[in-house]
Amino acid sequence: MIKRHGSSVFYESERRMGKNRNPALFLLLTLFFALITASFGRYGFFAMLPLAAYPIYLCVLAGIGAGRMFFRLLPLSFFVFFIGVWNIFFDQAEISVFGLTLSAGWLSFATIMLKFLLASCSVIAMISLTGFDSLCRSLSLLGLPQMLINLLFLFYRYINLITAEARNIIRARLFRGGKISLPQSGNILGPLVLRCFARSRRIHEALGCRGYRDVIYCEKDTMLSCDFSDKIFGAAWGFFFIALRFNLVSIISNLVLRCVIE
């Protein structure tokens, strides 16, 4: 029995919820999902739609609402939109859907935006579900160098540190009546870098005093375990993605139409 937080019962109940499956499993699944999503053709909009089940599942599990997801994705969508929208003008082939003749450009544009939605939603939901720290710890499963994992782990914490230092410098400058302009930016950025250096050294020494020896403490049994249910979980989703990529939708649609026609 794997123990965590001092209580195996607590850990087991969390694990059953699916919230505490091996984070590396979710990462691999999401990467595979991104690969499958990207492999669809330019006009695969309708064939890709069922793939939405995976991000929906993750969102339900992580408890992320549609509104929150929308506002997370909105600023990211501009670049994809800007590039994809050109298809409307350059893809002039005609297609008919429900008897209506449409420009293929609209369909290919919609496909790009759907790909963006699927890939981004799955990543955001995945990280909400697994947590960044757990993901970092379990990355050693995938063979990442320990130094890289340490760096990833510490970097995430340093972001707040940098923001706080920058805020202090800017506030001090404004209180003294100084302006913040491009010619003076060197006098702000330079001290910021040096202060960050100094602080990072202090943090590193403090970590060393507390027993840190360039290895992040990791409950190996907990993080590296991938039990039978995990394997079934991963295999089921993997099979679903592959089935969708290779004709599942058209088989179902033909089944339905055959029933209707005959």
Binding site: A47, G84, F155, I162
Partner: protein
Amino acid sequence: MHMADALVSPLIGGTFWIAGSYITVKAAQRIKEDREDARDVLMGVLAAFVFAGQMINFSIPGTGSSGHIGGGLLLAILLGRERAFLSMLIILSVQALVFADGGLLALGCNVFNLGFLPCYVAYPFIYKLLTASASKRSVFTAALLASVAALEMGAFFVVLQTCFSGITLIPFSLFTLLMLPIHFAIALVEGVCTALIVLYIYANEPMLLARPCEAVRPGNSLLRRTAALFVVATLLIGGLLSWHASSLPDGLEWALERVVTEGATPAAQDFSHSLSEIIQERTAFLPDYSLSVEEKDVGRLGTSVSGVVGSVITLLLASELAVFFGRRHSRR
């Protein structure tokens, strides 16, 4: 300038992933050999510094898009190219994982554009060559030129990766004309910022810029090896994808393939487009399933309806199952 998963094909994404992994392993090995612990301490915090800098977006007029600094060159100047590359990898991974900026599949492309090009091309071949005299003016000029070169190369590679992926139909020349001038402006800002920071550190703590280890090995055989790896990876992935080759298009483009009107001309058929299309079209696994409905029975309208109906039914089924299991688990 982050590539998104939506714009990358598996071939391009996979190739750059392999190349990125190779450079990462090599960089990690080299750092182990260096044993310059003082710089390892700085890696995390400097990466966070550049990350925070990337959060500051410049709006690009007329495009609805925005740009931000890359920071790869600054990291390379302060940390050396290997540590800078790994720091950029960390930054881009966090952006892809936590903020969904870029994407997992496109991570390899982003690492190449924003990490490899500034650290392994612009830094040794432009910055280091121009700063041989180490005067203030030469540092400023070198930082500016190297930043511009790195970002312009990165932007050009975004264009190449997008066009070779064949997802969009924006013409290569137009896309290049749009991307390069925009990134030239961003690169100027980045170049000035990089130069100012480097000059400040040069004046106050010049020891931070001294790197004895790199002077020992100026050779850059990694470039050649990476180029060779690209070719091998492309052939390998292309070969694997076309292994399941079939004479019929796979069942996923069926909705369009069958309903595109006879007379309609396919859009731009440049080399990259046709290459990716051939690979994508030749991945059918179950090309001739026994349940297919004869086209004469259903007709063109029916076929398009079948596509829509099939997708919606499968989505509903899958979503219902997903929501059901999700809620069931949550109740527990």
